[in-house]
């Protein structure tokens, strides 16, 4: 029995085969929803941005370049940019957001489940406060490599920067975070998130 295709093979195969796109979606959607649950305040935003992310991924399959990284950081990069643009549009009357409503696909059970997910993904209060105090670039570096569980190289790809620059940023972010946690009297021993050490 042949081994199952890798995510990268699925992303390439999805250009010509909707079933491979569907399989790639099934494998990755939970990661994308989790990523967004850690950054959004409500289920509607999670749904909207998840939908937009995959619409763009669908449209961009032809330009997916395996040399530049695996599909998950590629998708997270798309999700991050959609999120940033969604925040930018906040407060404006947006025809785009009016038309794109992933939230229309939500039923009551989804709503409750995503609310629970948002709560579950929420970091401990002292940790959340300390991370919130980081600069935006540092905050994202810490979250991508801890809560989102990406390697520094994959996180760099998700952000579209060189791994060397990301490594510098991550080092500085962790140092700043430790200072903040120490200043608050919080434990400075390694802190565990749901899927890894914050200070590897």
């Amino acid at each position: 029995m042949p081994p199952p295709p890798t995510d990268t093979q699925l992303a390439i195969g999805a250009r010509d085969d909707p079933e491979q796109f569907a399989e790639l979606y099934r494998r990755t959607v939970d990661t994308i929803v989790g990523y967004l649950a850690r950054r959004c305040a409500n289920p509607e935003d999670v749904a909207d941005i998840t939908a937009t992310t995959y619409v763009i991924a669908l449209e961009s399959l032809g330009s997916f370049d395996p040399e530049r990284g695996r599909p998950v950081p590629w998708l997270l990069g798309i999700a991050g940019r959609v999120l940033a643009n969604q925040q930018r549009r906040t407060g404006r009357a947006s025809a785009a957001s009016a038309r794109l409503r992933g939230r229309r696909l939500l039923d009551a059970a989804d709503f409750e489940r995503l609310e629970d997910r948002i709560d579950a993904e929420r970091l401990a209060p002292h940790l959340a406060t300390a991370i919130e105090g980081l600069s935006p670039a540092h905050r994202e570096a810490v979250l991508l490599t801890s809560a989102d569980g990406l390697s520094p190289a994959d996180a760099a790809r998700a952000l579209g920067i060189h791994p060397a620059a990301f490594r510098v940023r991550l080092h500085r972010a962790r140092k700043a975070l430790q200072q903040r946690l120490g200043a608050e009297g919080a434990p400075t021993a390694p802190l565990r998130t749901h899927n890894g050490d914050l200070f590897a």
Binding site: V29, T52, E59, R99
Partner: protein, 284 residues
């Protein structure tokens, strides 16, 4: 028992309805119109994609809706909230090298010495430099990357400890855009006018919870000049320069090898361990 259909299941159904063959180079979210492909989901996706760094843009993500110039040079009055106008001004600042000089304090009252760092970013292409200073004010880390004209990106990393400069180049990744070095404002409100280094600025308070964030934007260009924040976590101040994208300013993206440092040329790309490996050229 029938499995409850979730949002994710329904979304996949909608996506598959929109799927069409897309061989390499054939898929282009700019090349199709919402009307051509039907479906509100994809229509909105196309609009959403236009708000992202595009395959042929400079990567800064520009809203497609026309807006008056931030400085009102069109003669019209821009009545949008200041938050939107500043965010748009940053998004439209393409032809610049952004320099950020940051000091971070561990204590909210800035009673400690603080640590300083500098960053440069090319808003129009792939280029980024990061310098970190130690407590004594000397550089601890200095690494930069700059895209060249021949499809290659040059990288240079200065290892202060071993007095070594490592250089290497890689193909320039396509579609790489610059970094803004400052996130979008959330909910800013003006509280006055101040002069910083001879520049008339509008002083803003930004509504990010727990941050006590203040931003001073150039009253003419609306680009940030300074940002400060403080809280129980400490404090920081960042001064921004939006430099013309001249060759001289682009050169700031790469550190200069200090006198007496050994220069090592590498032929391979550093792996995921990143800087740690770069700083040990003897391993290669």
């Amino acid at each position: 028992m029938t499995k409850h259909e979730t949002f994710e299941d329904r979304l996949l159904g909608n996506l598959l309805d929109e799927w069409s063959p897309a061989g390499p180079g054939k898929a282009t979210h700019r090349g199709r119109t919402a009307a051509a492909v039907g479906g509100p989901l994809l229509a909105a996706g196309v609009v959403g994609a236009l708000l992202l760094p595009s395959a042929h843009s400079d990567g800064r993500g520009v809203a497609t809706t026309a807006a008056p110039a931030a400085n009102g040079s069109t003669g019209t009055v821009d009545v949008r909230p200041i938050t939107d106008r500043v965010n748009d001004a940053m998004a439209k600042a393409h032809d610049v090298i952004i320099h950020a000089d940051q000091t971070t304090w561990a204590h909210e009252d800035r009673s400690d010495r603080g640590t300083r760092s500098e960053m440069w970013s090319d808003a129009a292409g792939f280029g980024f430099r990061d310098i970190e200073y130690g407590a004594d004010g000397h550089k601890v880390v200095d690494a930069g990357s700059m895209a060249g004209t021949e499809g290659t990106t040059q990288h240079r990393s200065v290892d202060i400890g071993s007095r070594t400069v490592t250089e290497w180049s890689t193909p320039t990744p396509p579609n790489r855009g610059g970094e803004t070095l400052i996130g979008d404002l959330r909910d800013a409100r003006p509280v006055g006018t101040e002069t910083i280094d001879g520049v008339t600025t509008t002083h803003l308070l930004d509504g990010e919870p727990g941050m006590n964030r203040e931003i001073w934007v150039d009253a003419s260009s609306l680009l940030p000049v300074r940002m400060t924040a403080h809280g129980t976590w400490g404090a920081y101040r960042i001064d921004y320069d939006w430099l013309a994208r001249t060759d001289a300013n682009r050169a700031q993206l790469l550190p200069v090898a200090p006198d007496g440092y050994r220069v090592v040329q590498r032929t391979s790309v550093p792996d995921a361990r990143g800087l740690a490996e770069q700083q040990d050229p003897g391993t290669k």
